[in-house]
């Protein structure tokens, strides 16, 4: 059995989701976009972030169609506002 995918959410997206960390099972052909769509189905409040969220896979920004591997850390980042 392959290792799960760790999903992280931050700031306003974390609040909209109600949690900042979820483990989901990996499946063949999984993409970042598919993970996000699954989250939105569970928590419709996340839909507000769909157009603006950035995605990081193992601490690097990736496009939405990026493949997700077993054991990956996949983070959904609302528009950053550091500084």
């Amino acid at each position: 059995m392959s290792r799960p995918v760790t999903v992280l959410l931050f700031a306003a997206a974390r609040e909209a989701c109600g949690t900042g960390r979820i483990e989901i099972p990996h499946r063949e052909g999984l993409t970042a976009a598919a993970v996000w769509e699954g989250l939105v189905r569970e928590k419709p409040a996340l839909e507000a972030f769909s157009r603006t969220v950035s995605i990081a896979r193992n601490h690097r920004f990736v496009p939405r169609d990026a493949a997700v591997e077993p054991g990956d850390e996949l983070a959904f980042l609302p528009p950053v506002s550091g500084g």
Partner: protein
């Protein structure tokens, strides 16, 4: 020596500047981002910063490396504070040391622009009458 940090401690410019200049460096530029007491016409009470810490430090490293190869600067340091930050306190300090001042200014500015564009850090503003997550550029980052 470069140095990248996410910390709940108060940022002390002097400590971050100290030792940044090597024997060939004649210029040190230090940028401090300070919490303003007024924003959008509101009186700000304090800010609360959150970071994706495991990613923020590698992002700082990549920002520094890009500035180093583009501007030829010697040293880049980025310290970002998280947690509660009071008005007048620094939330971020960037220090760049270089042989000459042009490159040091260019690199410090670029580093700070990049920190604001891509560092996984968020702030919540507590003002008189409420609080709100501040959102930066709405375009998703893909690089």
């Amino acid at each position: 020596m470069d140095d990248f940090r996410i910390t709940t401690d108060r940022l002390e410019e002097a400590a971050i500047i100290a030792g940044a200049a090597g024997v060939r460096d004649g210029a040190v530029v230090a940028f401090s981002g300070v919490v303003r007491g007024r924003n959008l016409g509101r009186r700000v009470l304090h800010l609360e910063y959150e970071a994706y810490e495991a990613m923020a430090v590698p992002v700082f490293e990549r920002i520094a490396e890009a500035a180093r190869s583009r501007f030829g600067v010697a040293t880049v340091r980025i310290h970002h504070r998280i947690g509660r930050v009071e008005v007048g306190e620094a939330s971020v300090v960037v220090v760049v040391a270089s042989g000459h001042r042009g490159a040091a200014f260019d690199a410090a500015r670029r580093v700070m622009d990049e920190v604001k564009r891509i560092a996984p850090v968020w702030k919540r503003e507590y003002f008189e009458g409420g609080d709100v997550w501040v959102e930066g550029p709405k375009e998703p980052v893909t690089e």
